[in-house]
């Protein structure tokens, strides 16, 4: 019944042009699962590229992005959601993906961390909650799947070959997508 009430409110949101999405700090959810109070969606004026460049947590990721010449992509229209590995996530087994000789490997890694559209954590939680399996999947730009699940209050994301990370810190709603910090690479080195 509660859900039905929310659907009933949807046209009101449209008519009054009040944003039904989340705030900048998350909390969007899809139409069926969102919180009742209308909160304006106010993404940052900065692009994904600018957001990543301005956050020291993503120094290595930034270097890999530049090396793979994907900076323009994240400065463009999008939208994309970037699951952004922190510096600590780049382990030695991944090699130096910022090295000139590793551009292709770096690009392949990045594609496995980018999905189409804008995914807030509330959206991800709503999808998990609505799923009978307790998981939700999104396809990446590498044509692989990221699987989301919950461990208590923590959102877990698992890559195609079993690499597993947690969504950490705060999401950032950029002008052309979302940055979701993650504490591990979502592709796992063999061996």
């Amino acid at each position: 019944m509660k859900t039905m009430m929310r659907w009933a409110l949807a046209p009101l949101c449209v008519v009054t042009l009040v944003a039904c999405g989340d705030g900048a700090g998350g909390g969007a959810g899809n139409g069926a699962g969102k919180a009742g109070g209308p909160t304006a969606v106010t993404p940052s004026s900065q692009t994904l590229a600018q957001t990543l460049k301005g956050d020291r947590t993503f120094g290595t990721l930034e270097r890999v992005l530049d090396n793979a010449a994907l900076g323009e992509v994240l400065a463009g229209k999008g939208p994309y959601t970037v699951f952004a590995p922190s510096d600590a996530a780049f382990t030695a087994s991944a090699g130096d993906l910022g090295d000139e000789a590793m551009k292709a490997q770096g690009a392949a890694m990045l594609r496995a961390h980018i999905v189409p559209g804008s995914l807030t954590r509330a959206d991800i939680r709503a999808a998990i909650d609505q799923s009978s399996s307790g998981t939700a999947e999104m396809r990446t730009m590498a044509n692989s799947l990221l699987t989301f699940s919950k461990d208590g209050d923590t959102l877990i994301v698992t890559g195609d070959n079993g690499a597993r990370g947690r969504l950490t810190g705060e999401e950032t709603l950029a002008s052309n997508g979302v940055v979701q910090p993650v504490d591990a690479l979502l592709v796992k080195a063999a061996g």
């Binding site: 039905m4 046209p11 449209v14 139409g31 992509v73 709503a126 396809r139 990446t140 044509n143």
Partner: protein
């Protein structure tokens, strides 16, 4: 309470259609690129292709002009109750074909264009540069793997391998080589960050699809460049020099169309911020974004009912 649900849907659709769902912008570039790059759904050419619409579903192309840009399966669904039909399964297939042909175009008759999703990821068939003319034409089984190990080029195999992919990948000098488990070469392709990098010339043997006009508008592409789609990315190419100037966008390249089920990997609501008011999931519709389009689907069946272009 239950009466409110259909009203909700109707309102959302009615308000949404004239605003965000736009016809081709008509930027004067002509449709030549679209014609070449689109999936096989060109109604202009597809009327008599043998699929036929003589089952009485009544959705002939003569009605196209009256249809909005967003065309909904509902117009076809009513025919499923036709008592004259004896094989419902066949009819359902027929409906899907009909819907595909009709939906993939805008009001002015120009097609909605998708890039084909290459299951083989655009592999080039034949012997790769540097490996040609060896013994049996290419490397014999086993030999490639030995060479790869010696060179360490398969160290990052895991970067490209996806779920349920039993093949092996080896990267060397801008190209990715796909091998089976026995080490036989199955094909190769230039890759993003490798041979497909800004500053490199477009590989002459590598096929691509020209970017459709819609993508020029949606992504705001520079009119002085050629834009080519290959293996999940949109590349800007200098038409004179054939040099790659930029990577303009990443795309899944998935071939989603009306009548199809949403494939796996679209569980999470991902609609761009600016469209969330208009396209919120509800009891009768769910919306997902992919590669510049919004897809409306039935939440129960997951069948895509509408394809929506996003232009502001």
């Amino acid at each position: 309470m239950y009466k409110l649900v259909p009203i909700t849907s109707a309102l959302v659709l009615a308000l949404a259609a004239p605003t965000a769902v736009l016809a081709d912008p008509g930027n004067g570039k002509g449709g030549d690129k679209q014609e070449r790059g689109q999936r096989g759904g060109n109604a202009e050419r597809g009327n008599d292709n043998g699929n036929g619409n003589g089952r009485g579903n009544g959705n002939g192309n003569d009605r196209r002009a009256d249809r909005p840009d967003v065309q909904i399966v509902e117009g076809v669904r009513g025919d499923r109750n036709d008592d004259r039909r004896t094989d419902r399964r066949d009819d359902r297939r027929e409906v899907r074909r009909e819907v595909e042909r009709q939906v993939f175009q805008t009001r002015d008759g120009r097609p909605v264009v998708y890039f084909r999703h290459d299951d083989d990821r655009g592999l080039i068939v034949g012997c790769p540069p540097g490996l040609a003319k060896k013994n049996n034409g290419c490397l014999p089984p086993g030999q490639a793997r030995q060479i790869a190990r010696a060179a360490g080029v398969d160290r990052y195999d895991w970067m490209w391998r996806t779920r349920d992919d039993a093949n092996r990948y080896e990267y060397r000098d801008g190209y990715l080589y796909r091998m089976n488990q026995q080490g036989s070469l199955l094909g190769y392709l230039p890759v993003l960050g490798g041979a497909l990098s800004p500053g490199s010339a477009w590989p002459t043997r590598y096929r691509y699809q020209p970017a459709p006009d819609y993508y020029s508008s949606y992504f705001g592409l520079n009119q002085n460049q050629d834009y080519r789609y290959a293996d999940g990315a949109l590349y800007g190419v200098n038409p004179q020099t054939q040099m790659i100037s930029q990577v303009a966008a990443l795309l899944t390249g998935q071939n989603l169309g009306v009548g199809q089920r949403l494939p796996s990997g679209y569980d999470v609501y991902n609609v761009p911020y600016g469209y969330r008011d208009q396209y919120a999931d509800n009891a009768t519709s769910m919306y997902r974004y992919n590669d510049g389009y919004l897809y409306q689907a039935d939440p129960k069946t997951q069948l895509i009912t509408t394809v929506i272009q996003l232009l502001t």
